[in-house]
């Protein structure tokens, strides 16, 4: 499954937001990626997500594939909203 988000975190996805997202995705079995422009990052790797350098205002797609993809996505959406990182669009 996939969801698209618009980033509202003021400084984009820097160390803290990346860590929160990766910490949310890592406990699940499903594979998770963050796509920005034409590049994909492993949502379970802090360095991979940070190197995307996603700025505020950017639109990204999170995809999750696997047996617990729904739960993973719910957790990620929760982090986006509760931490003010962005909103679904």
């Amino acid at each position: 499954m996939e969801k698209t988000f618009k980033i509202s975190a003021l400084d984009g996805l820097h160390a803290r937001p990346c860590t929160l997202l990766v910490s949310a995705a890592t406990p699940f079995k499903s594979e998770a990626t963050l796509r920005y422009k034409d590049r994909s990052a492993n949502l379970k790797s802090i360095m991979s997500v940070m190197s995307q350098a996603v700025p505020t205002g950017a639109v990204i797609t999170i995809s999750a594939v696997g047996e617990d993809e729904v739960a993973l996505m719910e957790r990620v959406v929760d982090i986006f909203i509760s931490q003010g990182l962005g909103e679904e669009c």
């Binding site: 160390a15 860590t19 802090i46 360095m47 350098a53």
Partner: protein
């Protein structure tokens, strides 16, 4: 593959900056102190630039120059986050000397920091050095109180 298994090497992470060594638990930012990013250590810088702690490849240079990531030749990923909340400085106070994809050797200058400017404008200049893929690794601190860039062994990493 077998030679790789039997020939298990430990990676030494050499101090990237000269300063005082601080436990990660004492970093006043839960992302670092609670180990959310991974295990590691922090340095309160005294002087000089930020140098490569290992031989490897640059895999991250923040647009705002306040963080640099190096993948060591054994796959260990090391993030050096210069100061706390320094993303808000938008690159002022830093000068990068490398870009993503560069091969680097131990001691190579990565970033220069204007510590006086950072002390005045950043929350802290305390610099966490984090192993971001630490789940399959054991990190041992050398327990030094001070460290000298390109000289002191900060951490020893063994891969399971």
């Amino acid at each position: 593959m077998f030679t790789k298994l039997f020939n298990k090497k430990k990676l030494q992470v050499i101090a990237p900056i000269t300063g005082d060594v601080v436990s990660l638990r004492e970093v006043p930012d839960p992302v670092f102190s609670e180990g959310m990013m991974g295990g590691g250590i922090a340095i309160m810088p005294k002087e000089g630039g930020i140098h490569s702690p290992v031989e490897g490849t640059i895999i991250l240079v923040a647009d705002t120059s306040h963080a640099v990531g190096i993948q060591a030749t054994d796959g260990t990923e090391i993030l050096i986050h210069i100061g706390l909340e320094t993303v808000t400085l938008k690159g002022v106070g830093f000068k990068t000397h490398v870009q993503v994809g560069d091969a680097v050797s131990i001691g190579q200058l990565l970033i220069e920091a204007d510590w006086d400017y950072l002390k005045e404008h950043a929350k802290s200049i305390l610099t966490p050095v984090i192993i971001t893929n630490s789940s399959s690794r054991t990190i041992t601190s050398s327990n030094n109180a001070q460290c000298i860039a390109n000289e002191t062994v900060l951490l020893t990493i063994s891969t399971h």
